[in-house]
Amino acid sequence: MAQVEQAVIPEDELASELAPAPFADVVWLFVRIGLTSFGGGLSAWLYREVVGARRWMKDEDFLGALTMSQVLPGANVINLSIYVGHRLHGGVGAAAALAALLLPPMVVVIFIAMLFQHVGNVPWLHNFLEGIAAAAMGMTIAMGLRSGRRALANGRWSFGVIAAVFVAIGVLRWPLVPVVLVLTAIALVFARKKRTIE
């Protein structure tokens, strides 16, 4: 999200007219993004291509969909791809975008895992991968802190919800379903009033 905010393109560079988006081009774009996006940042890439370079969608349309994809359950970029696909080519477009984004990297990731299994139980390789996983978790922490900053902008009650979720799920390992349901109900009460901007 923050990456996207920085990548906003000046208005005068945006054509008022949208360009046509041929079906094959849409599918190919999603294949390319799925296969080259190491370590995340997929939403920002979609934005640059779909809104910036190709002018298939309007800025506000895309950013609205980005918000929606973050609120809904499911991986953000998957929800976003469904919206973009649907916008450009209806239901078939949504299904095609999803398949194009997921199927090629699915096959690739399994082949990498097979290769890893073949190489066997090499300690340094395990340690190397563990280091990668730790840095990827750093990326996750950074994302969590960013969303926390956004949450606190809506009121200090957010901190209580964040802490309650963290302790219940992360530390106490309570089951996800009831915790999320109860805390969502509580959060909905607090979120009733929009906080005036100070």
Partner: protein
């Protein structure tokens, strides 16, 4: 297809399909629960395998949610990979599709932004809990925490850097630390 295979597929669906609709804030938020189910409850993978598969899914291209594909593949081959993936992707995708259709009609209503405001702190708590669960269950020692926190600071500060070099350096550092200490 024998009975144990069918049981396995049903178990995969039973674990991942409900999580699909609970993964607020992206796939990160359900990692703690995936860990519990696949290591502690069903013993699909060991702790070390869990960490390895997680790292592979991060090092490979594509959405991080492909971690689920690997768990399915590990325990049930290509078919297991497909079943686990569809279980995780389909329910949330159907919901996203329905919302995408409604979006233009209701996006400006007050109740919509209320739901949005309520879910942001939940997403945040779940994301951080997921990171904590993975890090605290790692066998990599204190250096794992140092790497994660340094990387977090780096990614916070530099929005647009390519994460790949950082991930690679982190892997090398951890391998060297474990070799010498």
């Amino acid at each position: 297809m024998n009975e144990s295979r069918i049981t396995l597929y049903l178990q995969l669906i039973g674990v991942f399909a409900p999580l699909s609709l609970l993964s607020f804030g992206g796939g990160q938020s359900i990692i703690a629960d995936i860990h519990k189910q696949s290591v502690d409850v069903f013993h699909w993978v060991t702790q070390a395998q869990f960490v390895d598969l997680f790292a592979i899914s991060r090092a490979a291209p594509g959405p991080g949610a492909l971690f689920t594909t690997l768990i399915g593949w590990h325990v049930g081959g290509w078919m297991g990979a497909l079943v686990a993936s569809l279980s995780l992707f389909v329910p949330s995708s159907i919901l996203a599709y329905a919302v995408a259709r409604m979006w233009n009609r209701h996006g400006d209503k007050p109740w919509f932004s209320q739901i949005q405001r309520a879910l942001i702190p939940l997403a945040c708590g779940l994301i951080l809990a997921g990171a904590y669960a993975v890090l605290s269950s790692s066998s990599g020692g204190i250096s794992i925490w140092v790497i994660a926190l340094v990387a977090a600071a780096l990614f916070m500060k530099f929005d647009k850097i390519n994460p790949l070099p950082t991930l690679f350096v982190a892997g090398v550092v951890q391998a060297l630390v474990r070799a010498w200490l």
